[in-house]
Amino acid sequence: MKEKLTSLWQRLFGDSVRAFGVVSLVFLVSLAIAPAKNFFSEWRHYQHGYLRMIRNRSDANTLQRHFQAGIQQIWLPELGVVDRCTSCHVGLKEASLRDVPVQPFRTHPVIPHKLEQFGCTVCHRGQGAATTVAEAHNSTLAWEQPILPAKYIESSCGECHRGPLPGTPQLNQGRNLLSRDGCVHCHMVRLPDGSTMKASDDPPILSHIADKTTREWIYAWLKDPQAYAATVTMPNFKLSDNDARDMSAFLIANSSPLAGDTVTLSAKASSDPVAGASLYGESFCASCHAVQNAAGNMVGGDVGPELTRVGSKVKPEWLQAWLRNPRAYDPGTGMPHYRFTDPQVATLSGFLLAKTDSDLLANVHLDASTPEQIAHGKRLVSDYGCASCHEIAGIKKPENFAPELSRIGSKPVTQLVFLPGMQHTLPDYIATKIKQPRSFGQGLKMPQYTLTPMQIDALTTALLALNDRSNALPPSLAVAAAPESDYQPAGKAGKLMSDLACFSCHRINGHGGEMAPDLTWEGSSVQREWLVQFFKNPGTLRPSLIRRMPRFNLTDTEVNELTDYIMTVYQNPGIDRDSMPLSGYAQGQIELGKQLLYGKYSCQGCHIVDTKTDKGYIGPTLTDVGSRLSAAWIYQWMKNPQALRPGTAEPNRAMSDEDARALTAFLISQKGGAAKEVAKK
């Protein structure tokens, strides 16, 4: 063996000439490695593949002309972008390559931004400077940021766009859930603009809970909120029987009675289900509250709590007091003060109390509570942070109860704990944490939420958008959200409007719900007499809508106060009501308007003007529009509806002044004569 080695040495390095030759050869080979590596690099293969692919296409010349060989780079120092993705993704800007089956050559889908302006990694993450597939796309030991899976891509829109966008439903939904499901009660989310994300839910006050419900119900609720109602957002804390027993004991013991939580009705609680159902329908309770029907479907809105089993929850006296005036128990509630008469309260409470579920409390048997149990219950209520969401007498709202999430979208993977079977990426960590928060270890407090896979993805998307880049964005790139208005009307009428909870459904000056029409310019829009009648007896304006304005049994004084306020305050400065009369238009002009309406503009597709012939029911019925709207409003509406009510479905027809005037003349002549005469008879 040794001899063989010696002879080899002799052959290679035996004399100086041989040694020089061999060493030169070794040097040459090692020098050749670098260019060879470059020559055999992945990106070069892709570029060759691209050229081969386009060779036989009819547009080969154009594509060939656009093609640039070598490593391509987009450098945007302001954004910290050094992206070489276009070295392999050669055809991103070639519209004709949109159907190419092989990546990386396909055209980028149409988006509102330019590649040169933002690069690739701003949206897709990944390592822009890398020139191999693995390093660019995947999480390796040296690189933190893998490519963002396509399902979370909208989170990148959210880095700059702080408000909702029409093209990013998932991001919008996620942000809504963060505030609607109450995540931000416990988790602080400081937005890049410096404001703090606010919760939009309204968890009930628990300081007077004993007036409202029983300890047994609280126990069953704490054990499994979804057993009471499938749609509730209260999460499941996975409490043991004893913990639920002690917490319910504490909440009852801690509750103080509220004056007025019991009322004596002049009428006895009625159990007439037909009258009850019809009052429930007439009052449009279902606009906000849902009830599960026999087929298991939810019928009704999601503004207020679900009422499927409400009879198993509330005490009759409390319900009656609540129906009489909900604001006495909860001054901030979104429920209107309906001004029901005593017999109405009796009928409606009887109807609601019959909505029971005998299984709910069948197995709940609680002995009288002991002081130790109450004390233990109080400790648990503090430990679980109940007061983060609910107002509870004697328990302070905890500060920073859960980790802050303001930059969760940039959390380094090295700081995360993964469960077996998980992908070791931040998105998978966030999604799993939302899906099964307690699976990450013993003693964790985050409760179990009931969320669909879509909701989990939406929340993950919204959280990924809260990252370092969104917080360090050049100000020129940030697109601010529309500021949330806290508009409140003043004076007596203002008080009346909050008593009637107008803002639960209507929006005025940027504040309020979106269920019902925006009333910001209502004073310019309607005629006073019509508004008075509408308050007294709200009729049907849009026949296809199931959610309508309820009747509030207002007194004449209240109606006048509201009407006066609306007619004087909610005026559009661009509309002069007196500029156009409500009658006296030339017959010829009226006729022309009618022709335009049925011919050129074909309004009957969506509106009913003549009940005998027209069927369209997307827009409001126009049979009595002449006694409802002001002429000046109709005219301006014809000219540009979106200017008066942004987002309305009425198309802007760019009407000439002449056409708009003729249509106004015709519409203002529609005073609902026929309908009124029928009513008189």
């Binding site: 992945e42 889908p109 399902k151 891509i153 093209g167 879509m454």
Partner: protein, 263 residues
């Protein structure tokens, strides 16, 4: 550590003839990872149950032809049913889903329930287009019986178009009513074309669709009941709407984009 491959649809389709071995290695690695990830999820809790019955046919009972954003879960789960020769539902039969990489099923396989059905949530891949996948079961002779299901993934532009469709178009153009949204379709003397009606809409060019949307039906001698939207919608809005219409048409439009099927 499981290495993470982000865009399987893209990377799986790589064509690298001059480096075939490494492409094969890459494909192999990806296959291994897919197997590893898909098995680790289902295998960990309990071993897969054995089928107790065999069917003769597999049919779709719900969830085909849905639209969702790229990468997102379909709004409704996909429900397939296994039937025997007489067409009666078979409980306890084996069902397995297969699709192009990037499509995930939850669960990816399982046994049919007492009504002979298996329900799975499906999320589509990262590229806009049509996704074809198969649900298969075994018959008595252990032969595979397959069912093809197609779903549509919408990209950014199509999603924007869909949003505009919901706001402005759907009430007339879709004959379907829901409790919340009553269709106006039946009230119109001249019936609008539902946007899925590929037989008609595929024959209308993008330029003509743009003209009808911008200037109303009369622009192409059609009904004035279709109003002009050119002053309400921007050019980009109208392009987005057309992209949406092209994406969902049935039969598919020529410009609907690629179809992704199991390799």
């Amino acid at each position: 550590m499981t290495r993470y491959f982000p865009n399987p649809v893209g990377t799986a389709a790589l064509g690298r003839p001059s480096a075939r071995s490494s492409a094969a290695a890459l494909a192999g690695a990806m296959l291994a990872i897919f197997l590893a990830t898909s098995c680790s999820r289902t295998n960990q809790s309990a071993p897969l149950p054995k089928p107790t019955a065999f069917g003769a046919a597999i049919v779709e009972s719900n969830g085909g032809k849905q639209f969702a954003q790229t990468g997102a879960w379909l709004p409704q789960p996909v429900v397939v049913q296994v039937n025997d020769e007489q067409g009666t539902a078979v409980a306890g039969a084996w069902v397995e889903f297969a699709a192009a990489p990037g499509v995930t099923f939850d669960p990816p396989k399982g046994l049919t329930d007492t009504s002979g059905q298996l329900t799975a949530n499906v999320s589509l891949g990262g590229m806009a287009g049509r996704y074809q996948f198969t649900a298969s079961t075994l018959d008595k002779s252990q032969k595979k019986v397959q069912l093809k299901i197609e779903e549509i993934a919408l990209g950014y532009q199509q999603t924007l178009g869909r949003h505009l469709n919901d706001l402005y178009c759907e009430r007339c153009h879709s004959p379907e009513s829901t409790v919340e949204r009553v269709s106006n379709f039946d009230n119109l003397e001249v019936k609008p074309h539902p946007f899925t009606e590929g037989d008609t809409l595929n024959k209308i060019s993008d330029a003509d669709l743009t003209a009808i949307i911008s200037h109303g039906g009369p622009a192409l001698n059609k009904s004035p009941l279709m109003p002009a939207w050119g002053n309400t919608l921007s050019r980009a809005d109208i392009q987005a709407l057309i992209a949406y219409i092209r994406a969902i048409s049935d039969p598919p439009s020529r410009s609907a984009g690629p179809t992704y099927a199991e390799n």
